[in-house]
């Protein structure tokens, strides 16, 4: 699954059949993505998946081995970065240490030869929208991490570019700041109405900010779709494993009973989907940790028996660390209520058949 077309006449940004090869190593295989004008798209993948490579190709910092890239219908593949009218935010910010905040922000405007009046206007705009009042004449090393981040964002946005590229910009910030900035960045995107292409390995970030998510693995596009769809209906085992926190079980499809039977546990559930392989009925089952159903163990219970080994409080949620008879530890996430099961309680673990993801094994 490598292509996506909106059916719209000319997509705002089109990446067509792009691949990048370094000698023997293929960093990207034949990727095609269309991006709409008001869209926030996250490029999600583990380290080394090629997501940063893809971003650099869009920016023009690198050249694709095959494929073309179009901005608003125009072929920009042969254009250097400074002719593409983009903005970019880097993980390490890369603010110019020898320039003040004001000069950093003014830099792209000067490089594109904007008139002085416009430069002053945009600087005021950036100062207001990014809450940089009082910081404009400081040097980058006199700013906190969060402030540097905002300046980096400002520098990317100050020319009102065709699109903004973000390369894991929140990776160097602490957690609280990250959560705040996630909301802020999304707000800027909505206000400006330009596409944001956001590269990250953090699936929570991707899901919280984006409209669509592109999942990249090993240089290939694993999945591309609305964030809710990617989360609720992962199309491949990799996406099921990578997006959201889930637990994996081995099992097999029993055609006679039309059920998936787990390998390790005496548990089965009905499966209505078509199972392609006729000779190999083995399956992988992924259950999102928050979809587990827990009930007190009683005679005749049909779920997987387990005991509460530990409880971790995470704000409004509780993580139950459950230990099964096969000495496997499974994490079940539940909203925090006033009556939590105590340690050592024996529970029955089950789930709604519609709420899990089943794939043929070895796919």
């Amino acid at each position: 699954m490598n292509a996506s077309h909106d059916g719209v006449a000319t997509p705002y940004i089109r990446i067509a059949g792009v691949s990048r090869q370094y000698g023997q190593v293929r960093a990207l295989h034949d990727l095609s993505i269309d991006i709409a004008k008001h869209e926030f798209i996250a490029i999600l993948g583990p380290s080394g998946s090629g997501k940063s490579t893809l971003l650099r190709l869009i920016a023009g910092l690198d050249r694709p081995s095959t494929g073309r890239i179009f901005f608003e219908g125009a072929d920009v593949t042969d254009l250097p970065p400074y002719k593409r009218g983009i903005g970019m935010v880097f993980q390490e910010f890369l603010l110019f240490p020898h320039r003040t905040v004001r000069e950093n922000l003014a830099f792209p405007l000067r490089m594109t030869n904007q008139p002085q009046q416009k430069i002053l206007e945009r600087l005021d705009w950036a100062e207001a929208i990014l809450s940089l009042r009082g910081l404009m004449d400081r040097y980058p090393n006199q700013l906190s991490g969060g402030q540097q981040q905002r300046v980096a964002l400002g520098r990317g946005l100050v020319t009102h570019p065709t699109l903004l590229l973000l390369d894991e910009p929140l990776a160097n910030l602490d957690r609280e700041l990250r959560n705040e900035m996630e909301v802020e960045i999304r707000r800027y995107q909505k206000q400006l109405g330009i596409p944001f292409v956001y590269v990250t390995h953090n699936q929570e970030e991707a899901l919280s900010m984006s409209d669509r998510v592109a999942v990249i693995n090993g240089g290939r596009l694993e999945a591309l779709g609305e964030r809710q769809t990617i989360y609720d209906n992962p199309p491949t085992p990799f996406v099921a494993r990578f997006v959201g926190k889930s637990t994996r079980f081995d099992g097999a499809f029993n055609p006679a009973s039309e059920q998936i039977e787990l390998q390790r546990y005496n548990y089965a559930f009905p499966y209505s989907g078509a199972f392609e392989r006729k000779d190999d009925a083995r399956a992988e089952i992924f259950v999102k940790n928050e979809r587990f159903q827990l009930s007190l163990w009683a005679a005749g219970a049909t779920g997987i028996p387990c005991t509460v080994a530990d409880i971790v409080l995470r704000g409004p949620f509780v993580e139950y660390i459950l230990e099964t008879e096969a000495a496997e530890r499974i994490i079940a996430v539940k909203p925090k209520t006033s009556d939590l099961s105590a340690l050592g309680t024996k529970l029955s673990l089950s789930w709604d058949p519609a709420a899990c993801h089943v794939f043929p094994a070895g796919r």
């Binding site: 023009g60 910092l61 690198d62 050249r63 042969d78 250097p80 970065p81």
Partner: protein, 269 residues
């Protein structure tokens, strides 16, 4: 950056050509002298011969011998003195100077910006005026040390700049006394700087003329003898001496490089 346009490739080849030209410029004279030292026609020793006559004559020449010995003594003492002082200065500036670090660093680098000849004549003036001394080995060593100290300081500062001083604290917390912490933790990580500084100071004072000359007058050092010979017409022994020194310098630096590299290959860091 973004793409290897033909422009980029041209620039790259141009820079590479300048680099090669620089190497040629710097090394051709040295190699020429090497050939000249082994030839019976020192002025145009091509095709190269391998006649070691001038080396043998060099070996038996007592003037050169005593000069070389003097130079060795000066160089050894200078390198020790300037390395020790340079190390103290480096640690002082990086660790204990606080806000005045830059001031101290500028002061310690000062001798570099004062030409050698000024160092030579000023030291000579001081000793003569204050003590009516003509200068001797000790004063030569001290004056050379002033000059080499700055080099040592810069070399070690450059290598110690990234050192994380919290490692000393970690060692002390683990029970090591400060001296022990230095030997066990700091020294292994910084010995390359110390060794480089020793070698550079040694070689600089071995070969430096201006400073020693003014402070020693009649006492011959290797460079002053060479200079004397140069004034009265070059003899092949001079080429032989020059080549030996060059080869030794080269070998010392190469040795340092290979030892440092094998050290780095170990998974310690």
């Amino acid at each position: 950056m973004y793409a290897q346009a033909s422009n980029d490739r041209l620039t790259k080849w141009l820079m590479g050509a300048i680099l090669v030209a620089a190497y040629a410029f710097l090394y051709m004279p040295i190699i020429h002298i090497l050939f000249a030292s082994m030839s019976s026609r020192p002025n145009f020793p091509y095709p190269p011969e391998f006649d070691f006559g001038s080396y043998i004559r060099l070996y038996t020449n007592t003037v050169y011998q005593s000069a070389f010995l003097n130079s060795l003594i000066i160089a050894t003492c200078t390198s020790l003195l300037s390395t020790v002082l340079g190390f103290l200065a480096t640690v002082g500036v990086l660790r204990f100077a606080g806000r005045k670090a830059l001031v101290y660093a500028a002061f310690f680098a000062g001798p570099l910006f004062v030409s050698e000849i000024l160092l030579g004549i000023s030291s000579m003036s001081l000793y003569y005026l204050a003590f009516e001394l003509q200068g001797n080995m000790v004063t030569a060593i001290i004056a050379n040390s002033v000059h080499c100290f700055s080099f040592c300081f810069l070399i070690m500062a450059a290598l110690l700049y990234r050192y994380d001083w919290r490692m000393n604290e970690a060692a002390v917390v683990c029970g090591a006394s400060p001296i022990r912490a230095f030997f066990e933790v700091m020294l292994p990580l910084t010995w390359s700087g110390i060794l480089s500084s020793l070698i550079v100071a040694f070689v600089l004072s071995l070969n430096g003329l201006d400073i020693s000359f003014y402070l020693l007058g009649a006492t011959p050092t290797m460079p002053s003898v060479a200079w004397g010979a140069l004034r009265y017409g070059v003899k092949p022994e001079l080429y032989a001496l020059s080549s030996i020194i060059n080869i030794l310098v080269f070998a010392a630096i190469a040795g340092l490089y290979f030892v440092a590299r094998s050290d780095r290959n170990q998974p310690a860091e």
